[in-house]
């Protein structure tokens, strides 16, 4: 029996890949393999042809300069991404792409960068960076552990749900106790770390949505998460 393929699209790995967000792709690909699927990681950079079949989309953070580079292209593929979202395609967008998946990003000097409005969130550049270890609580995923490093302050609109509520750290804006955003099967978050290695529950949920969409079911194997469990324990003990 040959393994069932799952196509993981990495969005803009050339310009939006800082803070180890590549780790998220690596974890999804490996775990897909462990669960008996045949992952295929496809890189999408500005100007590339958008693949016809995509099961899961992952995007990361970038420098401000990286965001400038991809912005026009993101607007171009925005309608495609929206269609996939409505069809239930799971996506994970970290930091910079989380912001641009929202409605808009207002820079320090008042310049407004349009997002694709896939998530009902708005971001305004703040005067200082929110930096440090962060943990949040989610009813679905339990404690989510990561590291944040952003100056944008993001607020959720009525149709976005937070990914988690703050246990420790600043989160979306340091004020309303929320971190990240969800709409359908799309997750946006400021959490690096990378996010998925220490939060395998989120990784497996993303894979489950991808598998169910394409094959109608998902039968996971029991993964060896002993290192992840210990790494979580130690991470929670660390100062901000």
């Amino acid at each position: 029996m040959s393994a069932k393929p799952l196509v993981i699209l990495q969005l803009y790995p050339r310009d939006m890949n800082i803070y180890g967000d590549h780790g998220n792709v690596l974890v999804l690909a490996r775990r897909a393999l462990w669960h008996g699927y045949a992952p295929k990681v496809v890189a999408y950079n500005p100007g590339d042809a958008f693949p016809e079949r995509v099961d899961l989309i992952v995007g990361g953070g970038g420098q401000d300069s990286g965001q400038d580079t991809i912005q026009a292209d993101l607007q171009k593929i925005g309608p495609k991404l929206k269609k996939l979202t409505e069809a239930g395609t799971p996506m994970l967008m970290i930091c910079g792409l989380y912001q641009l998946f929202g409605k808009s990003f207002t820079t320090q000097d008042g310049h407004v960068i349009q997002g694709i409005g896939l998530l009902d969130v708005e971001t305004i550049a703040g005067p200082e960076r929110l930096i440090g270890n962060i943990s949040t609580k989610s009813n679905q995923f339990g404690t989510i552990i990561g590291y944040e490093n952003h100056s944008g302050k993001t607020t959720l609109g009525p149709s976005a749900q937070p990914l988690g509520t703050i246990i420790k750290g600043a989160g979306n804006n340091g004020e309303d106790d929320f971190e990240g955003a969800r709409y359908k099967n799309v997750i946006g978050s400021y959490m690096h770390g990378s996010l998925l290695p220490k939060n395998p529950a989120i990784a497996d949920w993303l894979l489950e949505q991808a598998a169910v969409n394409r094959y109608g079911d998902f039968t996971p194997t029991v993964a060896d998460d002993r290192f992840a469990t210990e790494a979580r324990k130690h991470a929670l003990k660390r100062p901000r």
């Binding site: 590549h22 590291y147 490093n149 210990e230 660390r238």
Partner: protein
């Protein structure tokens, strides 16, 4: 003008701090408080001025090399050896070196300053020369963004009065934008195109696109590493090639040595004593923890400091894992950087065949988790660094050993190793 009493008072505080075994920067802080011009006045006496070395990776080793190369030219060199690399650290080092009248017996100062502190430094003291090594992802939790770090180095370059030496292969330092408004002479160093593929930059880490190669000819005066065969390096400048057998390991250390040569050429100009220069170059050794080799139970035990993805990648690339037992120690104290994301930007495939015998440090399990996803076999995992080191040495007593470690893990390991072998004192 430095007030005589501030030198005496500062020296007294320094003496007391030493008796107490206190931090090296405290007396500097004190003298800065009572006499803000102390550092500027003292360094201002130097006939050949001040060399500032900055960049993400390799500052300590490069500073050491620049000092040794300039000394080979007969110069008396002052440097901030303690590694307390901010202004008050420089002040503290100066206090130890000046006589009671505040006179510094040196021709030139070579100072290592990290990017953020260097910018504070140049607000008050204009460096005569600056040597800019690279801009890589390091402690982004402190500086925020890599482009911002490049801006810091640009500020240093603009404040430099006589000449800037920069790494032309670094995508940011080598760019036209970086050098276009620098009015003093700019010289470059770098590697030949053949060697360039061995220096992955952060930008091309996740991309298949080719890095723009900055032609050496763009720079009027270039010093370049042409080839590297075993420990023999060929260095070219002024259309001539020079072969030299080096003691330093690791190609990134060699590149920094080429930067040091370029700087030395600029400082000495036509006075350069080439023979003495290459004699000194052949004998330079890396600074502590930068690939230094200790002897433990008759076997070499190498310490490789890793503090950011590019440094870790270069370390893995420079030292073959074959024949060595490997240990990795990852701490996340403030000096190491708290964020563990960087481990996910390093590929550990080269360790797969031999595995990693021992993993330790505060974030041992983050490291183990990283290796699990690269299919690298993992031996013991323990956050107890002392026990891990003991087990590593006991289990692999007859094998050469290599330990990749973050900064504070390295300090702890050196303390333990000092109990069983000779470890160079860095204080």
């Amino acid at each position: 003008m430095t007030k005589p009493y501030s030198v005496l008072a500062g020296k007294a505080v320094r003496y007391i701090a030493q008796l107490r075994g206190g931090g090296s920067a405290l007396p500097g802080l004190f003298v800065e408080k009572i006499d803000r011009d102390f550092v500027a006045d003292t360094l201002g006496q130097l006939p050949r001025g001040v060399v500032l070395v900055s960049g993400t990776n390799g500052k300590t080793t490069t500073t050491k090399m620049v000092v040794e190369l300039l000394e080979s030219q007969g110069l008396r060199v002052f440097t901030n050896r303690t590694g307390s690399n901010f202004v008050r650290g420089v002040a503290a080092a100066l206090l130890g070196a000046v006589d009671t009248r505040g006179k510094l017996d040196a021709d030139i100062a070579v100072l290592e300053l990290d990017e953020a502190h260097a910018v504070k430094f140049v607000e008050r003291i204009s460096p005569t020369y600056s040597l800019l090594l690279n801009v890589m992802r390091d402690q982004l939790d402190r500086f925020g963004e890599i482009d911002y770090t490049a801006d810091l180095l640009h500020t240093i370059a603009l404040a430099t009065t006589d000449g800037v030496v920069l790494n032309r292969d670094d995508p940011r330092l080598g760019s036209k934008a970086f050098r276009q408004d620098i009015t003093v002479p700019v010289r470059s160093f770098g590697v030949s195109n053949v060697l360039l593929s061995q220096f992955p930059s952060d930008d091309e880490l996740r991309t298949a696109t080719k890095k723009i190669t900055f032609k050496a000819s763009l720079f009027h005066e270039d010093t370049s590493l042409e080839t590297m065969q075993g420990n023999t390096a060929t260095i070219a400048y002024d259309r001539k090639k020079y072969s030299v057998d080096l003691k330093i390991n690791g190609i990134y250390n060699v590149l920094n040595a080429v930067g040091a040569v370029a700087l030395c050429r600029m400082v000495m100009g036509s006075e350069l004593d080439q023979k003495a220069l290459f004699g000194a170059l052949a004998n330079v050794t890396p600074a502590f923890g930068r690939g230094e080799s200790l002897i433990v139970n008759g076997q070499p035990c190498q310490l490789v400091l890793v503090k950011n993805p590019s440094g870790f990648r270069l370390g893995l690339q420079s030292f073959s894992a074959k024949g060595y037992a490997t240990m990795i120690a990852i701490n996340d104290n403030y000096a190491d950087g708290r964020d563990m994301s960087w481990l996910w930007d390093v590929d550990f495939d080269s360790l797969r065949a031999g595995g990693v015998a021992e993993i330790s440090g505060i974030r041992a399990y983050d490291m183990a988790l990283r290796l699990q996803y690269d299919d690298v076999p993992v031996g013991n995992v323990s956050t107890d660094l002392k026990k891990a080191l003991e087990r590593f040495i006991a289990t692999h007593s007859a094998t050469p050993k290599r330990i990749y470690c973050t900064y504070t893990a390295m300090l702890a390991l050196r303390r333990e190793l000092a109990k069983i072998t000779t470890v160079e004192d860095v204080r």
